[in-house]
Subunit: 365 residues, 2 copies
Amino acid sequence: MPLHLTPAVAGKTEKRGICGKDLNKKGTPAGDLAIPEAAGLAPGCVFLLCVTCFQFLHYYDIFSVITFFRNGFRGVLHPALVAESWIVDYNAALATIGFMLFLGFVDDVLDVRWRVKLILPLFASLPLLVAYSGGTTVSIPRPLQSIAHLPSNLDLGWAYLLFMVLVTVFSTNSINILAGVNGLEAGQTFVIACSVLLHNILVVSGFFSATESVREGNLFSAYLMFPLAAVSFALLWYNWYPSRVFVGDTFTYFAGMTIAVAGILGHFSETLLIFLLPQVLNFIYSLPQLFKIVPCPRHRLPVFDPQTGLLRPKDQPDWNLVNLFLQLFGRCGENALCIRLLVFQTLCCGLAFVIRYFLQGVYKA
Amino acid sequence: MPLHLTPAVAGKTEKRGICGKDLNKKGTPAGDLAIPEAAGLAPGCVFLLCVTCFQFLHYYDIFSVITFFRNGFRGVLHPALVAESWIVDYNAALATIGFMLFLGFVDDVLDVRWRVKLILPLFASLPLLVAYSGGTTVSIPRPLQSIAHLPSNLDLGWAYLLFMVLVTVFSTNSINILAGVNGLEAGQTFVIACSVLLHNILVVSGFFSATESVREGNLFSAYLMFPLAAVSFALLWYNWYPSRVFVGDTFTYFAGMTIAVAGILGHFSETLLIFLLPQVLNFIYSLPQLFKIVPCPRHRLPVFDPQTGLLRPKDQPDWNLVNLFLQLFGRCGENALCIRLLVFQTLCCGLAFVIRYFLQGVYKA
């Protein structure tokens, strides 16, 4: 089953090449800044094109596709039987991610107000909600079944759609607010995308036990995560300290939405939330400032000390993970801070795998 | 069957209201211009939201929806049987139009080069092509059948997909290049959208004879054309001479793509080309300049004479319909010129109906 991905590997290098060109060319909308903003545009467009073309792969029997590539584009492609509900999901995902990319770019260009930003994903997730053809049934964790005398499966109906909206809104904004250090946005996206991809492959290959529909969902998610990992790696190349481009809301919104869509249509939103643990912590820790209980400046960045070249938290530190790391682990350079945060991200993803491995069978049927 | 549209009428006024607000708020990206550019953004977003929500209407039995609205949102909605291929088409259309709107806005902000512009619709139409589940069979006109001894139906296969791409590229660019006068872009879109909508209603209601699949396609097109007519009317309100907003490539690309998608998925691309007659003429007449046989300036606008307040063609007139009208019918004010062009557009659409009426049965089975 991981073979599904093999034909795409060939295109990976090329994809990076395209990214590189586009970044240099397109990344100059804000003429006042020395470093181009909104460079997320190029990877976003490349991602959409890749995902669109990946759809072709699913139309044909995968083994005939591989033979086709090995024989140098000669031979016959056998059409595979594709469930139309799969194509519906696919196109709804495409519409949603494209819409979010669009709104992110609009935000970068027009500087939408902070409160409005929070609900932008709501609009973008509409195509997904309307076209959602999957079940609205959740399986209740075993411990909860015995405590609350709930059935093993519960149909949530409209509440499930509400849950979907909340996941998209959270995921989209959470990546956007864990930011402010060179390379952090693209880096965390890369780590999360790789982890989710690995998780998908483990499920699809049968290492993690799963029902057929869950396996199908994870394959779907892998189709989204593979290009996401590729384009965020390419972007990281340019965004790593010292940044030659800034990713902008364009990228953070688009990446967050892609991850959310993968989690929802892949039916592993719970596991996804463990992958997103740093974002969850940052979000909860930021809540007092988001709701203006604690005063919130325009940019919640640490202070740069030109003499030592190190970053330190403000005298009244902002309530986010970036500043918390500086407080906990002491002052450090921007690059070191980014690496510390990415290591934490990787640890959380590793934790997710451990939890997922030990809980299977115990937690759910 | 026109009843399908009734519930939407209620939302129309509200839609205009939203447009108005968005236009004033969002239409200020290019700070240097006194008149906001790229105002097509607001109608575009409203359009996408409307179309997304229209999908709900198709999910339920139309009569139960009407009863539901009449009873003040009380009662039961009966789900209708929806073909999944319909939802696939719908979401592919949504993804394509959204993608084009996004590219149009990118173009407005980043000023993409002229040659690149021509192929932008190619990328945007990819989701449509990949998800296209309809037939690739065309019915051959009767006169041609007897002359060339062709069968009544011919499967074009890949050639049909190529034809789809050409229609999208043509339609998207043709509206963009018939421009330069206040109110013209929004005006022609409004006239075309209304005409196509009327055509759809006539086919769906059975006034024009058609097979069941063609009728279904026309209903689909009506779902797209109704909001397009509404939002372009709202935009026209602000774009009419003297313009308070400029529509930008955002609107022209998005409108052109919507019309193309409606024509393709509605299976009436031939009739559509008669509706687009002024655009076709303008495109053919512009070809020498597009291919640089005749020198082409950045903007192919007529010359404004401040003393008389009238427009006159340049000494070496540009090769487009706007200048041709000035040459043929004499100098006039900007508003009069726009009205003349829109009258011509309306006449062409009227002609399309006459042709369509008299040719049915004769031209095709």
